[in-house]
């Protein structure tokens, strides 16, 4: 027996923290950390819904696995971009105007 209020609240908090992280950071890699938090909020929601309902297709678990995979791909490309940026500009400050 479990209340879903807890997972829902945690997902909401993580999403809010992630949004804050994306907005308040200048460093590109740290922004990515915020993005990861948002993705985890979504995952948590999926899992918590999937774990209690009559989930015939296992959508909660399967979609979470998919999201984790997509996150890996996303991080892979994003970090390649960040490194390319660093090599060109010498920093990864996304608020700085490119000259």
């Amino acid at each position: 027996m479990i209340h879903l209020a807890g997972p829902y609240a945690l997902a909401a908090v993580l999403a809010g923290l992630g949004a804050y992280g994306v907005l308040a950071r200048r460093n590109a890699v740290l922004m990515l950390i915020g993005v990861e938090l948002i993705l985890n909020a979504a995952n948590l929601l999926l899992v918590s819904v999937g774990s209690v309902g009559a989930d015939t297709w296992q959508a909660g678990n399967v979609l979470t696995l998919f999201v984790i995979t997509i996150a890996a791909a996303e991080v892979c490309v994003a970090l390649a971009v960040v490194l390319a940026l660093f090599r060109l500009r010498g920093d990864v400050d996304l608020t700085r105007r490119a000259e």
């Binding site: 209340h3 807890g6 993580l14 804050y20 990515l32 990861e36 985890n40 399967v62 890996a72 608020t95």
Partner: protein, 184 residues
């Protein structure tokens, strides 16, 4: 309150606290390390929710690969020891961001909490069931995902090669004419 609720509250609080630290700390690498704690405790949440496979994949892929990549990128770019004020935006900007973040949380809470409902049974998912669904119902998304991974791999490779080619072109600029540079 059930036992599972208490367990979830424990790991959930850790996750929320470490998530907060991950987005607020000014130590660049500490942010990534707090992210590790956060993701690990989210994996714990999955375990409490009965999704064992997801929890392990979270640990394997997120903590073992994604965060390591993030740390790797941080070290490759610039990660001095000690607080670094340059990683966050200005105070006003941050206040705005905090308001927006709190807004997101409030919005989600207002939507989600009413539908949370009473305590429910947690049947727990078997790995076999997940596997059957992945390779049954979800097989086409799964294949598309593998394609996505491949594309991402190639893209990451191409991006890193592109910059190197650009560097080479820049360093060899005087000796080369434009067509040569393009052909490179």
């Amino acid at each position: 309150m059930t036992t599972l609720d208490i367990a979830f509250a424990g790991v959930g609080l850790v996750a929320a606290a470490s998530g907060l630290l991950a987005v607020t700390t000014r130590h660049v690498v500490h942010a990534a390390l707090w992210l590790v704690v956060c993701l690990g405790s989210v994996a714990g949440c999955y375990l409490v929710l009965g999704a064992e496979l997801v929890a392990l994949v979270q640990l394997l892929v997120y903590v073992g690969a994604v965060v390591v990549l993030v740390l790797f990128a941080l070290m490759l770019t610039r990660a001095p020891i000690g607080p670094n004020p340059e990683v966050t935006t200005s105070r006003a900007h941050r206040a705005l961001a905090a308001v927006l973040g709190a807004g997101v949380t409030a919005l989600l809470l207002s939507v989600l909490l009413p539908v949370a409902g009473p305590a429910r049974k947690r049947p727990g998912t078997s790995n076999t069931a997940v596997a059957e669904q992945v390779f049954g119902t979800w097989v086409w998304p799964f294949e598309a995902l593998s394609l996505l991974l491949l594309v991402a791999l190639v893209a990451a490779f191409a991006i890193s090669r592109m910059t190197r080619a650009a560097e080479v072109a820049q360093s060899a600029l005087p000796e080369m004419t434009a067509p040569e540079r393009i052909s490179q």
